[in-house]
């Protein structure tokens, strides 16, 4: 873990130190929030809406979001669509292979809780939060591109609130 999480403790005693740390924190948070590269990964209906959100009319690029195909370079994972029991270990592995800090949006009812396939289906995982930590839940079947953008803004707001001190604590169990 980078020693930067200890910086606020050291800087407390220095006059003006808190200003330095808070502004550093702000800059770092802002940069992370405005550059959320998402993993190119979708399973079902929501993936189509995700595509639309990236396309000309809604244009994710405005938020500084563009896709990376490799999870190593991605910051944000949209779990876009139904996750079956068969798919679940793969999703978990993909999530694990993302470089931290990483964020997850469960897009659509299926990713949140199994959605329309909650009852009477033997194959669908009932919520992706059972296998990976989820930052923002976005219901909708499928949610509109605007909803997805709203969820992204929520993630950005969450990122902006992160504290330097908390960086060392393992946020993700």
């Amino acid at each position: 873990m980078g020693i930067i999480s200890k910086l606020p403790v050291y800087m407390e005693n220095v006059p003006g130190g808190t200003i330095v740390t808070t502004s550093l924190e702000k800059v770092l948070n802002e940069s992370r929030a405005s550059s959320l590269w998402y993993l190119l990964f979708g399973t079902a209906c929501c993936a189509i809406e995700m595509m639309c959100a990236g396309a000309s009319r809604y244009d994710f690029d405005r938020f500084g979001m563009f896709f990376r195909a490799s999870p190593r370079q991605a910051d944000l994972m949209f779990v876009a669509g139904t996750i079956s029991h068969k798919m679940a270990p793969r999703v978990k592995l993909l999530y694990e292979q993302m470089a931290e800090p990483r964020y997850v949006i469960a897009m659509g009812g299926c990713a949140c809780s199994g959605g329309p396939f909650y009852y009477d289906s033997y194959a669908v995982l009932k919520g992706v939060d059972k296998i990976i930590p989820v930052d923002v839940f976005l219901p909708g079947c499928p949610p509109r591109p605007e909803s997805l953008m709203e969820a992204c803004i929520k993630v950005q707001q969450k990122v902006k609130k992160e504290k330097l001190q908390d960086w060392s604590s393992d946020r993700r169990g």
Binding site: R57, G109, S113, P139, E146, S147, A151, K158
Partner: protein
Amino acid sequence: MPTAYKLNPISGIKNLLIGLWVTLRHLFSKSITLQYPTERWEMPERSRGVVVLLSDKETGDLNCTACILCAKACPVGAIRIERHRGDDKRWKLDSFSIDNTICCYCGLCQEACNFDAIKLTPKYEFSSYDKASLIYDVNRLQDLGRDVDYVPTAKKAAPKPVAAAPAGDAATAVAPQAPAAEPTPTVAPMPEKPVEPKGEGE
């Protein structure tokens, strides 16, 4: 291995240039992007987003008569209703909840409802940091429905006894249709407030 395709260099270069011309033309045409948090579409009337419970315009009470037609019509089991018989032999609502993560926004509940009680609104911003908060209870649903405009339909009748209620078949219930207005999604810049969706809330 199939043979490679033979290309004609002259037409090849010509078509490469045509391609460049098409993209160049688009470079100088106006972008069609909607800048979402600052601009929004005017949603079509029928658009099916967040489900709300409607209240009577005068009294402010819920229109819902706890007839559970909507719960029966729901294809995914997202609606949970608990009720009991009141003193006047009518059903009284104990709790009413919609699990937004299960709901598939098909609109069958709205079609099944005979009392203008449940409606899918064009609202679409409802993401949350917390999954539990996506199960909307009756108060939440009522609050969301307060500002929803609707045209009361004449179908309102005395509540039927539940036993006779048809097993939720939505195809039978011809949905009351509000007159379709504003079907063209035009860019409607929100002049006043919600430039950014509120961060807090749910």
